[in-house]
């Protein structure tokens, strides 16, 4: 691996070590995946449908157990001390689902409290909702009438409010309108500047190149390419992606 990292903390905030996952049906969804995300960095995972991105994030969240290897959050091995590890992470899924009978504010209240932030007020929630671009009149409406993008914004707001040092994002921009997508990128930039470590899976090659410190491409459970922003400066990422995905190039991580 030839990534040059900008060291701020001794150890990476998010780390996958020899991560392997074989599902019960025998499918090898992750095959010896290794990567690190340091403080103040964004790591973008690219890869086709079924490449193993969501599986990776699920293991970080201990929603499933790795077959071998491990994931660490803030140096804590997630499947050994899941509760300890999860104190340092927030998460936005590719299709944010919230309680349909709760209003946006109620959902925010519940989930931020659940994340351990008990001193926030309604005004804080409103502020963040506005920051992620949810129109004011939707704040007190029940979630069951929300569009996908609106739900996505709520999910992002929850992650922001939780204010944890690391953030896992599974295709966070899916369903966002272009304006909201752009605003989200700015938001990510700000969060990185605050020192957060972000692991994001995405299908948006251009945005990934624009914002990520490191980009990894996954194919059939293998991390087939991993390069820093600097290394990709002049490369045609789209071409690289297609080539790696086609399988005739492989870079051993």
């Amino acid at each position: 691996m030839n990534t040059i990292l900008n060291e701020k903390k001794e150890f990476p905030m998010l780390e996958a070590v020899n991560l392997t996952k074989k599902y019960e049906d025998g499918l090898l969804a992750l095959d010896d995946v290794n990567f690190k995300v340091h403080q103040g960095e964004i790591y973008a995972m690219l890869g086709g449908n079924g490449a193993g991105k969501t599986t990776t994030i699920n293991i970080f969240l201990n929603l499933i157990e790795p077959t071998s290897g491990e994931t660490k959050i803030n140096g804590i091995v997630t499947h050994q001390q899941p509760l300890e590890a999860k104190k340092h992470v927030s998460f936005v899924s590719e299709n944010v689902m919230l309680y349909p009978e709760f209003t946006a504010l109620q959902n925010l209240d519940f989930f931020t409290r659940l994340g351990g932030k008990t001193n926030l007020t309604k005004d804080d929630y409103r502020q963040v909702l506005l920051r992620v671009g949810l129109q004011e009149d939707a704040h007190s409406k029940k979630l069951k009438g929300f569009s996908k993008g609106m739900r996505q914004k709520c999910g992002i707001a929850i992650a922001i409010l939780k204010n944890s040092p690391t953030i896992l994002l599974d295709e966070p921009t899916s369903g966002l309108d272009p304006k909201a997508g752009l605003e989200f990128m700015t938001l990510l930039d700000e969060l990185r500047d605050e020192g957060k470590s972000i692991l994001m899976s995405t299908h948006d090659i251009f945005r990934a190149k624009e914002i990520a410190n490191t980009i990894g491409i996954m194919n059939n459970g293998k991390l087939v390419m991993q390069r820093s922003k600097a290394e990709l400066e002049n490369a045609d990422l789209e071409k690289l992606y297609v080539e790696y995905m086609a399988g005739y190039m492989e870079e051993v991580a």
Binding site: N58, L61, N62, L63, I64, P82, L83, E84, A85, K86, K87, V89, S90, F91, S93, N95, V96, M97, L98, Y99, P100, E101, F102, Q106, F110, F111, R113, L114, G115, G116, G155, I158, K162, L168
Partner: protein, 489 residues
Amino acid sequence: MFRLLVEKELKNIIQSPKFLATFLTCSFLILLSIGIGINEYFNMMEQYNTAKNLAKTEMAQARSWMALSAKAFREPDPMQIFSAGVNYDIGRYSIVHERQDSKLQNSVYSDDPIFAVFRYMDFTFIVTVVFSLFAILFTYNTVNGERENGTMRLVFSNAIPRSTFISAKFVGSWLGLVIPLLVPILVGLLLLVVFKVPLSAAHWIKIIMLISTSVLYLTFFIAFGILISAVTKYSSVSFMILLVSWITLVFIIPRIGVMTASQFISVPTVAELESQKDSFSKARWEKHYGEIEKVWRARNAEMNGMSEADRQSYREENEYKWFEEDDKVRNEVQKEITEYSSKLSDDVRNRKATLENLALNISRISPASSFQLAAMNLSTSDINLKNRYEKEIQNFRQTFSTFTQKKQKESGGQAGMFRISIDSQSGVKISSGRDESSLNLREVPKFTQPSHTISQAVVPTIIDIGLMMFFTLFSFGGAFFSFNKYDLR
């Protein structure tokens, strides 16, 4: 953390649109059932008093002590407001007479079968059927529903122990369902006070126990719903399983229990039993009258050769003695018959008890039967109600007939019957006891309702309450255990 989850669960239940509908329906049904119960109780009470008074006037018309018969009535118990049990199925009273086996007759349903057409709807019924259904309706997707709508992942991206989550689910659902249902129940209790239903302290204790048992029953279904939603992936599947289980537990098992038991143990019917008693008593009387015939022939023989006037005076002189003698023998015969028939009845009662035990034990597989049985026991409308009364009435019959016999002797009349003697010489002669005046009924013993203490009502419920607790704990434990391995994605 736990609190937060519980609060969320509560809010989730109370804010859902189905909550209002179910809450209103349940409240309506509870109040309706209690209202009807109160109305029905007062109605029964009025009937009871009228019938008792009628029985008094009827007694006053008796002309001899031996002909006097009483009626022992079952007094309505205000607890029937909560559980009608077998109240309407078993007879309201029994005739009490030395010569007649006492048994409860004239049940409300046989007097007015229209009420039997759609049966009764009481509080216990509402709890058994409706509460359980609604408990299922609110819990069938507690766990797998969160998985399906994706909130589970978000929840567990936080530092939440699974045990906290599942416990909070349970506590939250419990509070969300039980507290609202307590409101109409309390209003119902208020109705009892407002309408001045005569309730003793013992009644209140039983009512409180009954309500606690209802809550326990509801708790079971909440735990069971959570269990099923924690062992299945899809809420549609858990819903089906729960609905089928609900039908099975509430409707099928209780019925199957009784029917299975009746396939194994056969109990002779009253009809058969009574024919047996009849033929015994007939044979016994026949023998007795054969003997009497001889005795009378001997008595007549004594008069052989006497003149008509002598005969007459001899007869008058001895008649009372003869009647006395006859009476004594007759009483012995009656005693024998009574003994025989109570032995037969006991046999049948024992067989019935075996049948009932088997039936109830089979049906106790279902907490719904346990609940109903406990509710009936607490409301003293259980299956043994009939036995309790028949036993008490049997005792009363003893007292009553001892009393009438004594009175009969004192008054000097002869045994209730009349004798028609036809003689080729003197034609028809009817002797029907000596006094024709009305009887002084003031001293006649009164039937007292069988005593049934609180502990007698409560003790039999222990097994049922215990079983319900066991099933509840089992379900909750199962939910807890399987959620520990639940696939959170």
